[in-house]
């Protein structure tokens, strides 16, 4: 069994108020390393055996149609062993 991972992130030009809230909470806890934080979503999709190229193409399609909103978000698809 393999896992196909889809990461969805807001496009850089879209304001991410959740990420900003996290960024401003970090220094309050003494973590001063962050210049910026962006928050996204991760989908872990399990498939039987090794993912085929057809399956990966379908995941790409699903990511574009449902998992992300291309108006405000970008996504990446990869296989995790």
């Amino acid at each position: 069994m393999a896992t196909i991972v889809v990461d969805v992130m807001l496009k850089p030009e879209i304001l991410d108020p959740q990420g900003k809230a996290v960024a401003s909470a970090l220094p309050r806890l003494g973590f001063t390393f962050a210049t910026d934080v962006r928050q996204g979503k991760r989908f872990e999709i399990s498939v039987e055996g090794e993912p085929t190229s057809t399956q990966l193409a379908e995941v790409e399609k699903a990511a574009e149609m449902l998992l992300s909103n291309p108006v405000i978000e970008n996504f990446t698809v990869r296989v995790e062993k």
Partner: protein, 226 residues
């Protein structure tokens, strides 16, 4: 005139929308998300709420429900369609109108009586108002910040498709104070604040919202947007 009101799992404002239709003199017809049948309605309202629990993104799952298949085709053919709040989010997810609704800039859920200005009264849902008319209706949302790219914003401004704007301080971070927009033809309107909660002085801030519902009845009689 029959105006359909769609109920998704998690919809909240379907009853208020149906009541507003009746107050305006129309007949409200219940439509169920899982049935493609539009029951011969003349126009449809997608009401507010938290359809499918706002899972994934607001409106993202509702957008693929059976009723939406029929609705998208009918609205593209010219049938008046109004999306309020969560309904606006569904319209955006269905790409019936451009842009997207994102988390309020200040991250808080907002519930307030909001002043808005009607910027375009040439749509099927705003013809009862005068251009520039200021009205007060409730605004209640967590993800009401309207966002789009610069090109789209320029197009919306240029074509007069921003049908209503917030007056005063920007309540949620929407670009250019956008409270509502329409499609090119003016039959599809997305609106973040809630006119259906302002049709009875007993339960709302006034009756300013009624105009949206009388507008569509007028448009249906005339066969155009006016």
């Amino acid at each position: 005139m029959k105006i359909g009101v769609v109920t998704f799992p998690g919809t909240l404002d379907d009853r208020d929308a149906a009541r507003a239709i009746r107050y305006a003199g129309g007949e409200a017809i219940e439509l169920w998300h899982d049935e493609a049948d539009l029951k011969s309605v003349d126009a449809v309202i997608l009401p507010g709420g938290f359809s499918y629990g706002d899972y994934l993104r607001c409106g993202a799952i509702s957008r693929f429900s059976p009723v939406m298949e029929s609705l998208i085709a009918a609205a593209q053919g010219g049938m008046p369609l109004l999306g309020i709040c969560n309904g606006f989010q569904v319209l955006a997810e269905a790409h019936l109108i451009p842009g997207a609704l994102t988390r309020n800039q200040h991250l808080h859920f907002l519930c307030t009586d909001q002043k808005i200005r009607i910027e375009n009264n040439n749509t099927a849902w705003t013809n009862s108002f005068t251009e520039g008319q200021e009205i007060v209706i409730p605004l209640k949302n967590g993800e009401g910040s309207y966002q789009c790219d610069d090109e789209t914003l320029k197009m919306l401004e240029g074509e007069g498709r921003i049908i209503a704007r917030y007056v005063g301080e920007n309540p949620n971070g929407s670009r250019n104070l956008i409270a509502g927009i329409s499609n090119e033809r003016g039959n599809i309107v997305g609106l973040m604040p809630h006119p259906e909660h302002a049709v009875d002085a007993l339960t709302g801030p006034g009756v300013d919202g009624l105009g949206f519902f009388t507008s569509v009845l007028k448009a249906l009689v005339s066969g155009g947007n006016k």
